[in-house]
Point group: C2
Chain length 225, copies 2
């Protein structure tokens, strides 16, 4: 994560805002629809996005605790009052960031479904997932702590991830590039394990990448070649 936040560097179009009237070309399952609401004013939406971006960046840098909401507001160049209007509690900000990240992964998966090499696509998605995990790690810990695993948000996020990954995986398998006996849930768990393991060598992303490489090797069908 270099600066502004978001999943990779996409910027612009990404997936944000909680309840934007008629976004444009929906098509994704979306966590969004759960919280339908009147459309936001343009400035409100701008600030909302800024806050999410700032929060994502800071969480990735230093974890979800040890960050003052006021710092996030400062980084987003927004008044503290604005932050509290959009996110009445610390938790709601956490949830929003989490959902935003998951939606980013969903969009990425959709895009990668038309990529040239299904296997490379799968690998890229997994890398993004692990990368995302760097934020998610402390984030989900904090979340789970707060909402006591009842929240519908968390489970619907898991479903979205499983679906996204499932599509990529199936395509790679149909192309004969990945073993048939691998399941999406397994892969998700493995990615999760990687996230945790990467935490050990905190900060050193290369470790996670190396492990991911090993994982991909293991997935290969290795038919001819």
């Amino acid at each position: 994560m270099t600066g502004t936040g978001r999943l990779t560097q996409s910027e612009g179009s990404g997936g944000s805002s909680p309840r934007a009237g008629t976004p444009a070309g929906s098509g994704v399952t979306s966590l969004r629809n759960i919280t339908a609401a009147p459309p936001m004013r343009a400035d409100a939406r701008r600030n909302y996005d800024r806050l999410i971006a700032a929060a994502t960046a800071v969480f990735a840098e230093r974890g979800a605790d040890d960050v003052s909401l006021e710092e996030i507001a400062r980084r987003a160049e927004v008044g503290i009052g604005t932050l509290y209007r959009h996110f009445p509690s610390r938790q709601s900000l956490l949830e929003a960031v989490y959902a935003d990240q998951v939606e980013g992964l969903e969009l990425l998966a959709a895009k990668l479904l038309t990529a040239e090499s299904p296997k490379a696509a799968l690998a890229e998605w997994l890398r993004a997932m692990v990368q995302f995990g760097r934020t998610k790690r402390s984030l989900s810990a904090a979340l789970v702590e707060m909402i006591g695993k009842e929240s519908e948000l968390l489970s619907s996020c898991a479903a979205v991830l499983r679906t996204s990954l499932g599509a990529l995986l199936e395509r790679a398998q149909q192309a004969g590039e990945v073993r048939q006996d691998v399941q999406a849930a397994d892969l998700l768990r493995l990615a999760h394990a990687l996230i945790l393991a990467a935490d050990w060598y905190a900060g050193d992303t290369s470790q996670a990448d190396r492990m991911l490489g090993l994982l991909m090797d293991g997935l290969t069908t290795r038919p001819a070649d």
Copy 2:
């Protein structure tokens, strides 16, 4: 946990103070000796004990986070400055409470070794352990987070627990009251699981007790009777 703190209700003699010159009748392995230091003045020691007791009580009530150090000082009827002198960081207070609890369990085990029924003794110790867990839970989470599982304190605590439990278990096994194939480490893990599970029905101790009962049933040799 009713009021003042400590493991059960023993009060007085328990195990506290970090580096008390010549306490009296040592005999326990002790986490203590690690941090040798000049003896404390009487008032210092008194305040130290009060702080530990107050902290233990509050942690048991509300967990290790969400507690201001100032409240602990107030409860101990001690100035905030005194708290900070004894425990320069939040972590050091956490560690001290933890060690104190473990030492309490160690003493309890020693006492129970001469109890009439080895099996009842084992059960009682396990109950105390789970009870203690109510503090330990959030406490050890906070600790592990802070000191990143390197700390020698944590592992020596685990060793003490294993040894204490081991002695009780062995006695119960020799008396033929508990199955031979149970190991101390297993029991410790089970107790830990109980602690976590009890967290689900937070606050309701009876649940934990019920589960403990089931566990003890499972341990029984069930030879005759």
